[in-house]
């Protein structure tokens, strides 16, 4: 498979389109985000099919090579076309190239002008050296192997409050069985802790029965899309640029993405007039808009919405009868003193809107924040303002997958109920947490300033989340060179950057952007001691790129 990916990547870069080996209309639906011309609006984009039929696409020992595959029941021609249509650039072509480089780097150290690949493509903090919060992991270890709790030596190796907490959690699990499927919404006692955490955050009541625990936030988003989308006549308003989970999930469920553009000039502001315009436009095309997705703090754009703006959004949803899908996974990641995270639920409740006024789903994850526990796949959605018959349907869909993983559930409850002042671990917990958050703020600032110094680059400040999304004003010559290479100009830039520096970023076209503008997304996650070198490499690369292509 890897050989295939590599072979394919090579082909995609080097080759122009070739004749398809199996002529069929589905082939045209094979969209490769990084190679198509930027498609910024939601309408279907016809894209050249760029697959080669060359022999590099399969190894000889692999059964079912493409040449003989036409007799097989599932081929590219007969796969679900919705699968072909969906795209997910965060792990797309650039990442495949990076993996190939990383493998090759081990063998041919001297062939590259860099000695390591730095993955700034994905919000995966612990893969870049961020350490987990000790208290959380102590509790998880004790819950993973409960026999430890009976050993006296355990007291020498674990903090006393982690032991207490592990007992408390185990008492909430029927039979203390961390290896059992739980309630499909998640273990009730853990949902109680989460609801209490939400209450403490918002100052408004939260009901544990509204919480659905999920394997990361993404399955929750899929579940809601599944519920809301019956056909392409159902639309979901999504920000552009957007985290491609939304476009991918909408494509997989066969719905229509209705874009609304964030205003880069006003720090990626969300204008109600734009929402209205796009809603009307969708209606005129016969699309029923069912929901509005808002990512706050923004991904990839990093802005933190003002409370006033949030109130307008809530009113808009209420007035238009839209479900508000609030992606609030970066709620702990706010880096500027003049902005504060407010949950949409708090905003709605503080406006006096209750269960009957607005349907609101808030997504939270243990992958982000200061904890960054991506590999645990934990998260939840808080579902409010739905009738009981709809809630039953959500429960049913959740139950088909039985339950989310238990250590992810435990961690989600810990994140929402961390150590308190006076607890044994409190001081170390606070030191770890603040260390991570203040370092993230420093890194964000350093990178943002460095990017803004580059010729033709403007970068809004990262108020929150984990990303910078600079705009690159590419010279015409670079755009022409990209076209000649059958690559989107921003992907062209990102590949050049990767090959010159080992830095992996995601082209803006993977998130969609205003037509004719070019961006890339870069995480702020490399460890602080690596940032100066990254800045240097990036600056040098950009200068030589501009020297080569300046008009």
């Amino acid at each position: 498979m890897r050989r295939f990916v590599i072979g394919q990547a090579k082909n995609l870069i080097d080759q122009t389109r070739r004749r398809c080996c199996q002529p069929h209309h589905h082939n045209n639906l094979r969209l490769l985000s990084l190679l198509r011309p930027s498609a910024s609006d939601s309408t279907t984009v016809s894209s050249p099919r760029l697959f080669s039929s060359s022999s590099s696409s399969s190894s000889s020992d692999m059964p079912g090579s493409d040449s003989s595959s036409s007799s097989l029941p599932v081929t590219l021609d007969s796969i679900n076309p919705k699968v072909l249509k969906c795209e997910y650039a965060v792990r797309g072509e650039i990442v495949s190239i990076a993996q190939r480089l990383q493998d090759d780097l081990k063998i041919n150290k001297d062939a590259y002008p860099f000695d390591e690949i730095i993955y700034c493509n994905i919000g995966n903090p612990q893969s870049l050296g961020q350490q987990p919060i000790t208290f959380f992991r102590e509790v998880l270890a004790l819950c993973s192997h409960t026999a430890l709790l009976d050993e006296s030596a355990t007291h020498g190796l674990f903090s006393s409050d982690s032991i207490d907490r592990a007992w408390k959690i185990l008492d909430q699990i029927p039979g203390k069985a961390t290896g059992a499927y739980s309630h499909s919404q998640g273990i009730k006692g853990l949902r109680d802790a989460i609801a209490a955490g939400i209450e403490a955050r918002d100052g408004f009541p939260a009901d544990p029965n509204d919480i659905f625990m999920t394997d990361g936030a993404s399955p929750g988003v899929h579940m809601m899309m599944q519920l809301l989308i019956s056909s392409e006549k159902d639309g979901i308003l999504c920000p552009i640029p957007q985290y491609p989970l939304y476009s991918a999930s909408i494509a997989l469920h066969g719905g229509s993405l209705v874009p609304y553009y964030l205003d880069e000039a006003s720090g990626w502001g969300l204008e109600i007039s734009e929402l209205k315009k796009q809603l009307e436009d969708a209606k005129s095309k016969g699309i029923t808009v069912r929901a509005l997705a808002v990512i706050n703090p923004g991904n990839p754009t990093g802005q933190v919405l003002s409370e006033e703006n949030q109130r307008d959004i809530v009113d808009f949803c209420k007035k238009e009868g839209l479900v508000l899908l609030a992606d609030e996974v970066y709620q702990e990641n706010v880096y500027v003193p003049d902005k504060k995270f407010h949950s949409f639920k708090k905003v709605a409740r503080s406006m006096g809107y209750g269960e009957k006024d607005i349907s609101l789903v808030s997504f939270q994850s243990i992958s982000k924040g200061y904890y960054g526990e991506c590999g645990k796949r934990g998260g939840y959605m808080e579902v409010t303002g739905f009738t009981s018959d709809v809630r039953e349907q959500i429960y049913k869909v959740a139950s088909v997958n039985l339950c989310s993983n238990i250590s992810g559930q435990i961690l989600a409850s810990l994140v929402m109920s961390p150590p308190k002042p006076g607890d044994d671990s409190y001081d170390s917990y606070i030191a770890e947490k603040e260390g991570i958050l203040s370092s993230l703020a420093t890194r964000a600032k350093t990178l943002e300033e460095a990017l803004n110094k580059l010729e033709g680059v403007t970068c809004n400040r990262a108020e929150g989340a984990m990303y910078l999304f600079p705009c690159i004003n590419l010279p015409q010559k670079a755009i022409a060179a990209a076209e000649a290479a059958k690559t989107a100009p921003d992907a062209f830039y990102c590949k050049r950057l990767l090959n010159a520096t080992g830095i992996v970023v995601v082209p803006g076209s993977g998130f969609r952007q205003v037509p004719g503008t070019w961006h890339f997304r870069c995480t702020i996650l490399p460890q602080e001691d690596k940032i100066p070198a990254i800045v240097n490499r990036l600056t040098e690369f950009h200068k030589s790129f501009m020297d080569e292509f300046r008009d």
Binding site: M1, G64, V74, S249, G375, F386, S399, N401
Partner: protein, 478 residues
């Protein structure tokens, strides 16, 4: 209200999932009211007191808290081989349990899975065609999502079946094409029956695309013979069907005549043209076997004869979910490469796993015998898996009473059983059954020492139930 029930995706509304349906909800209510409930509705061994295997839990605990590995006192709590194994798995990750892995799972664990398959089957297995998943269910959903384009696409599913299949097909808007297992032949799979099902579906304009087999069977507990698997694979070859082999119960075998044999091995044994012409996806999990680690949500699927481009599409869809949870990936690694003879933890591991399997074997027998001693109940022996699926011959009086109560007859029976005994089962109608025939599914998982009492209480309820409805409204009065 923004989201009315009427506006919901019809496919969602159509979807049924009985394992956590009405009976389960009622049982949960009763439990809250303080009644002792014996949950036999889900194959969830640890919930019924099965203890986790020690060694894997030690390894995963160390991976959860890697700072323990630096503590000079770690040896007081953990054996050396668990420590070594934790270091091994951490070295396979890129940042420990807290970092997303490759969307297909950690390459090092996939390699261990491939080695396991090769040892098991005697044929090479390619780690690049193995994807780790959050439980087997996620894998089934991913594959069916690729196969089903719309309601014109049909999937052959055994009846009775594990409702994951019907639920997923319904969610994805496809058509379920049933084939009936033959209860009188110990739930045997008759290929003629398959042909009829396919012919009938095709006559209705359905393009049958794939076939599901569950081996050992859920809820039916039968183990397929090699000859039978050959017929099935030939059938898939001739009819151009993808075979989805649900083999999650491969460790759970309670008879010696038909040990588990994988579909992949049979397919490879058959040679050309079948071995290169049948697309097969095999599923496995850490939730079953003597592991029973349901709460971890770990599993894998292996694809055979999938063109690289299709594999790449499946990879893309997997990548949208970023990665399966990493601790369950490590459980999977441990499951396919358990302690070996000579390892410090081997004896304990072998003792624990053997103890669980032998006890399950005894429980399978106690349960089948118990059911067969009841009035109007007949039950095939549980050859494998974790379930007993007795047929309950309901007298007309019971059917009538069920009708009056507005319940499906077997739901009616199971609710009464629950109220009277606290035994929470799943009605056969949740799995599909021939019309007019009624069943229930229980797991064989309650603790062995409780088993006789449970079967006594079942028998008491059943025989009274039968007496009530036969005497009161039975044949004689109709």
């Amino acid at each position: 209200m923004a989201l009315e029930y009427d506006l919901l995706n019809e496919n969602v509304k159509k979807c049924q999932y009985a394992v956590r349906g009405e009976l389960y909800l009622r049982a949960s209510e009763l439990q809250k009211e303080g009644k002792k409930i014996i949950f036999t509705n889900v194959g969830n061994p640890h919930a019924l007191g099965q203890k986790p295997l020690t060694f894997p839990r030690q390894v995963v605990a160390l991976c959860q808290a890697p700072f323990l590995l630096d503590d000079p006192n770690v040896g007081m709590l953990f054996p050396a081989d668990a420590i070594a194994r934790a270091k091994h798995y951490l070295s396979l990750t890129s940042g420990g349990l807290g970092a997303y892995s490759d969307s297909r799972g950690l390459p090092g664990v996939r390699k261990e899975v491939a080695e396991f398959i090769q040892r098991r089957d005697g044929y090479p297995s390619d780690p690049e065609l193995i994807f780790l998943t959050d439980g087997a269910s996620k894998g089934v959903m991913q594959i069916l999502n690729c196969v089903i384009r719309g309601e014109g696409d049909g999937i052959l599913v055994p009846v009775p079946q594990y409702p994951l299949y019907s639920a997923t097909i319904s969610l994805l808007g496809g058509s379920l094409v049933p084939y009936y297992l033959d209860e009188s032949e110990n739930w045997g799979l008759d290929v003629n029956n398959l042909r009829q099902s396919v012919a009938q579906a095709r006559s209705q304009g359905i393009s049958v695309r794939a076939m599901v087999i569950i081996n050992p069977g859920n809820p039916t507990g039968q183990c397929l013979s090699e000859a039978n698997l050959k017929e099935i694979l030939k059938f898939c070859y001739n009819e151009k069907l993808v075979l989805l082999g649900d083999e999650v119960y491969q460790q759970n075998i309670y008879q010696d005549e038909r040990p588990f044999i994988s579909s992949k091995k049979v397919l490879m044994d058959m040679g050309s043209p079948f071995s290169k012409g049948v697309q097969l996806v095999s599923f496995h999990t850490v939730s079953k076997g003597y592991w029973g680690e349901c709460g971890q949500r770990g599993g894998y699927f292996e694809m055979t004869n999938f063109p690289p481009r299709v594999v790449e599409e499946i990879y893309k869809v997997a990548s949208i979910a970023l990665s399966p949870n990493v601790s369950a990936q490590i459980f999977m690694g441990l499951m396919v490469s358990p302690p070996k003879p000579g390892d410090i933890s081997y004896d304990q591991f072998a003792r624990e796993s053997k103890g669980i399997l032998e006890s399950l074997r005894r429980r399978a027998k106690i349960m089948t015998d118990g059911f067969n001693s009841c009035k109007n109940v007949v039950c095939n022996f549980t050859e494998g898996a974790m379930y007993s699926f007795p047929q309950i011959r309901l007298p007309p009086g019971a059917l009538q009473a069920a009708k009056q109560a507005g319940k499906v007859p077997d739901v009616f029976y199971c609710l009464k059983l629950l109220e009277a005994t606290g035994i929470s089962t799943v009605p056969g109608s949740g799995f599909g059954q021939k019309e007019g025939v009624f069943h229930l599914r229980t797991t064989i998982l309650p603790a062995e020492e409780e088993m006789p009492e449970i079967m006594d209480s079942f028998k008491k309820f059943n025989d009274e139930f039968m007496a009530q409805y036969e005497n009161g409204f039975g044949y004689s009065r109709m």
